[in-house]
C-alpha cells in the first residue's frame, strides 16, 4: 500500500495539481494582473517614481481550467498520436499472435530459447536501436542503397508516419509477444486435443478454443504496446522528423524544451491519460464473442 502511495498516487496528485493551476502575478492588494494590467502598472510607476522604480509584484498559484482548454488546441496532434499507436498495436498483434502461439506449442527447452531471441533486441539500448533504424531508413541509407543497386528508389522512408509506426512496432513487439505467450502456455494441450477429437480442424481449433482462451493475453498485450506507443517522443523525434510530432513530443517540450510550461504539460498528460483509460476500457470490454467475430 505504501508502495502504491509513493509511486503512483503521489505523482498522480502532483500532475493533477499542476494541470489545474497556474502561476499569476498580483499587486500588493492581491489583485490578479494580466499582461495589460502589468504594463499599466509599470508605466504608472515609471511616471510617478522615475526610471528605476519597481512596483511591488507578487506571484500566486491559482486554480484554473485554462490549461485544460488550451490542450484542445493540440487535439489534432493527440489524435494523430492515438492513430499511429493504434496502427502499431494492430500490426504488433498480427505479427505477435502467431509467433506467440508457435512458441507456446514448442518443446519446453525450445520455448526458453525462442523467448530469449524475442527479447534479445531489448538488451540493446532503446536509443541505439532506434538510431540504427535512422541509418537504415535514410535517403542515403542502407535500404535505399540496396534498392538502388537493382534500379529502384530512392524512396523517402525516414521522416514519414510509416517510419514512426515501424519504430513503434520494432520497439514494442516483445511487449505484445510476452503476455500472449504467457497466457498461451497455460492453455492445456488436452483442451486443444479435445477440440480436435470433437471434430475441429486446425482453423476451428484456433477460432473456437485458442483465441477465446487467449483473450486476456491479447488485452494485456494491447495495453503494453499501445500505452508506451501513444506517449513516445523518442521514436517520433528520431524517425518522424519535425513533421510528425506526437503528443509525447509536445509534453516533453513543456517540461524540458523551450516552450517551458509545466502546467500545460501536466494538463496534456492528464488529457492523454483520460484518452488512454478510455481506449483501455473499450479493449477490456471486448468479450469472447466479439473477439471471435472480429477475427473470423
Amino acid at each position: 500500500m505504501l508502495w502504491m502511495a509513493v509511486f503512483i498516487i503521489v505523482p498522480l496528485i502532483l500532475i493533477a495539481v499542476f494541470a489545474f493551476t497556474t502561476t499569476v502575478k498580483t499587486d500588493a492588494d492581491g489583485n490578479i494582473l494580466d499582461a495589460e494590467a502589468l504594463d499599466a502598472l509599470y508605466e504608472e510607476y515609471e511616471e510617478e517614481y522615475g526610471e528605476d522604480a519597481e512596483p511591488e509584484i507578487y506571484e500566486r498559484t491559482i486554480f484554473t481550467l485554462a490549461n485544460i482548454f488550451e490542450v484542445s488546441r493540440y487535439m489534432s496532434t493527440l489524435l494523430h498520436s492515438i492513430w499511429l499507436a493504434l496502427i502499431a498495436t494492430v500490426i504488433c498483434l498480427i505479427l505477435g499472435y502467431p509467433v506467440a502461439y508457435l512458441i507456446s506449442r514448442l518443446h519446453f527447452d525450445r520455448q526458453k530459447i525462442m523467448l530469449m531471441l524475442v527479447m534479445l533486441p531489448m538488451w540493446m539500448n532503446f536509443l541505439l536501436r532506434t538510431y540504427a533504424w535512422m541509418t537504415l531508413l535514410e535517403r542515403s541509407g542502407l535500404i535505399n542503397r540496396v534498392l538502388g543497386l537493382i534500379g529502384l528508389g530512392p524512396f523517402q522512408m525516414i521522416n514519414t508516419p510509416g517510419a514512426v509506426v515501424l519504430g513503434m512496432v520494432y520497439n514494442y513487439l516483445p511487449f505484445m509477444i510476452t503476455p500472449l505467450y504467457s497466457v498461451m502456455t497455460k492453455i492445456d494441450g488436452r483442451t486443444i486435443e479435445a477440440a480436435q477429437d470433437l471434430g475441429a480442424g486446425s482453423l476451428r481449433v484456433m477460432t473456437r478454443v485458442v483465441i477465446p482462451l487467449s483473450v486476456p493475453g491479447v488485452v494485456s498485450g494491447i495495453t503494453m504496446v499501445f500505452v508506451p506507443a501513444v506517449s513516445t517522443f523518442i521514436i517520433s523525434r528520431m524517425l518522424g522528423g519535425g513533421t510528425n510530432m506526437l503528443i509525447g513530443d509536445l509534453i516533453d517540450l513543456q517540461f524540458l524544451g523551450n516552450a517551458y510550461n509545466p502546467n500545460l504539460g501536466a494538463a496534456m498528460s492528464l488529457v492523454l491519460m483520460v484518452f488512454i483509460l478510455l481506449c483501455m476500457s473499450i479493449t477490456n470490454s471486448i468479450d469472447d464473442d466479439d473477439m471471435e467475430a472480429a477475427l473470423l
Binding site: R190, T191, E193, A194, Q196, D197, L198, G199, A200, L213
Partner: protein, 369 residues
C-alpha cells in the same frame, strides 16, 4: 457368436525420444465391447489409447477401423471420441456449450442442438446445470460433462483415459457402476484405460494387462484373476503368493518342500515354474502333519477380512481370512489342487516388476525389522 471387429491394432510400435513405449501391440476390439487397458504407469496403455484416438501416429504397424487403415486420419475425422484425463473441458464455455461443441462444429440447427444436449445431460444426470460454468463444478460433475460432450456425436468408440483417477473412492465406485450401465444402454464400444485393477475387473468385458509396452494377457476379468498367465499379471491383479516350484509331471508340482497335486498339465518334465496361490484360497487350520505349518507374524484388519502374514518354510505367506489367529501362534495352511496356479517362468520375471504390490518383499522387510 463371433462379434464384429471394430478396431484392430497390428504390430504397433512407438518410441518417444528413442525410448520404446510400445513394443508390438496386437489387439482386437469388438463391437459393443467394454475393454480395459490395465497396467502400471508407463506401461504404454495411454499411448495405445492415443494412437486409437489419432493423437499419436505409430512408428510401425497399422491401426484399422472397421477394416480400413486409419493411421493417417487426423483425430477430427475419426468416429472415435475421447474422455480425457482431468476432463479437458473448455473453460471459456458453460456446460451447455461444452456439450454442444461437436454439434456446433457441424452447424446443426439450434432446435436439434438443444434437444440433443438435453438428452445427453439427462443421460449423465446433469439436468439443470446448463448455464453453470465448468470451473465451478465438482470433479464428478466435470467428469459427467466430459462424458456427455464425448457422446453427443454418437461415436462408434468411446476412449476413456483414467477418467475416474481424480475422484474420491466413494464417487469412483458410483461412477464405475454408472459408466458400465451407460455402456450397456448406449451399446457404444468403450476402451478404458486405468491402473486400478479393481476398476478393471468390475467394469470390463475384456481386460488387457500391459507392462513395459507389451501386452501380458488378454481375457475376461475371471480369466485374468483366476488364471494369470505370468507372475506380472498375478502380482498386478490382486494379491498373490508366488513361490518357485518344479513341475514333476502333469498334475504334480513340488514347492515349499512338498509335492502337491494340481490341475495343470503340459509342462516339460521337471520344468522350473512359478506357483501362484491367492491369499483368499488358503485356509488356516490346526497344524497337523498334512498341512504347511508356520508362525503368525502379523495380523492386519482390512474391513471385510484380516490380512495375515505367516512365516513357513522360510517364506512369508499372505492369507486373507475372516478369523484372526493370535500373533506368534503356530498355524497350519491348506489349499485344494484347484487353488494352485502354475505358470511358466519367463525371462521377464527377472526384470524388476513395476507392480506396486509385491506383497512378499514388503512382508519380508517388515518381518526382518
Amino acid at each position: 457368436m463371433e462379434k464384429k471387429k471394430l478396431v484392430e491394432l497390428k504390430g504397433i510400435t512407438k518410441a518417444f525420444d528413442g525410448e520404446p513405449v510400445l513394443r508390438g501391440i496386437d489387439l482386437e476390439v469388438h463391437d459393443n465391447e467394454f475393454m480395459t487397458l490395465l497396467g502400471p504407469s508407463g506401461c504404454g496403455k495411454t499411448t495405445t489409447l492415443r494412437i486409437i484416438g489419432g493423437f499419436e501416429t505409430p512408428d510401425t504397424g497399422d491401426v484399422l477401423f472397421d477394416g480400413a487403415r486409419i493411421n493417417d486420419v487426423p483425430p477430427h475425422r475419426r468416429s472415435v471420441n475421447t474422455v480425457f484425463q482431468k476432463y479437458a473441458l473448455f473453460p471459456h464455455l458453460n456446460v451447455y456449450e461444452n456439450v454442444a461443441f461437436a454439434l456446433r462444429l457441424r452447424k446443426t440447427p439450434e432446435r436439434e442442438v438443444s434437444q440433443r444436449v438435453a438428452e445427453m445431460l439427462e443421460l449423465v444426470n446433469l439436468r439443470g446445470f446448463e448455464r453453470r460454468r465448468v470451473n465451478n463444478l465438482s470433479g464428478g460433475q466435470q467428469q459427467r460433462v466430459a462424458i456427455a460432450r464425448a457422446l453427443i456425436s454418437n461415436p462408434r468408440v468411446l476412449l476413456l483415459d483414467e477418467p475416474l483417477g481424480a475422484l474420491d473412492l466413494k464417487l469412483r465406485k458410483e461412477m464405475q457402476n454408472e459408466l458400465k450401465a451407460l455402456q450397456q444402454r448406449t451399446g457404444i464400444t468403450f476402451i478404458y484405460v486405468t491402473h486400478d485393477q479393481e476398476e478393471a475387473l468390475t467394469m470390463s468385458d475384456t481386460v488387457v494387462v500391459m507392462n513395459g509396452g507389451v501386452i501380458q494377457q488378454i481375457g475376461t476379468p475371471q480369466d485374468i484373476y483366476n488364471e494369470p498367465k505370468n507372475t506380472f499379471v498375478a502380482r498386478f491383479i490382486g494379491e498373490s503368493n508366488i513361490l518357485p516350484g518344479i513341475m514333476h509331471r502333469d498334475f504334480l508340482v513340488e514347492f515349499a518342500g512338498n509335492n502337491f497335486e494340481c490341475v495343470d498339465r503340459d509342462f516339460a518334465p521337471m520344468e522350473p515354474v512359478n506357483v501362484v496361490i491367492r491369499p483368499e484360497d488358503i485356509r488356516l487350520v490346526e497344524a497337523t502333519e498334512d498341512t504347511i505349518n508356520g508362525v503368525v507374524r502379523r495380523v492386519t484388519f482390512k474391513g471385510v477380512h484380516y490380512e495375515i502374514v505367516v512365516e513357513a518354510v522360510s517364506v512369508n505367506w499372505i492369507i486373507h481370512s475372516t478369523k484372526a489367529p493370535e500373533v506368534g501362534g503356530i498355524v497350519g495352511m491348506t489349499f485344494t489342487p484347484e487353488d494352485i496356479h502354475i505358470m511358466h517362468r519367463s525371462p521377464d520375471d527377472a526384470l524388476p516388476l513395476a507392480s506396486d504390490l509385491a506383497p512378499m518383499e514388503e512382508a519380508a522387510a517388515e518381518a526382518a525389522e
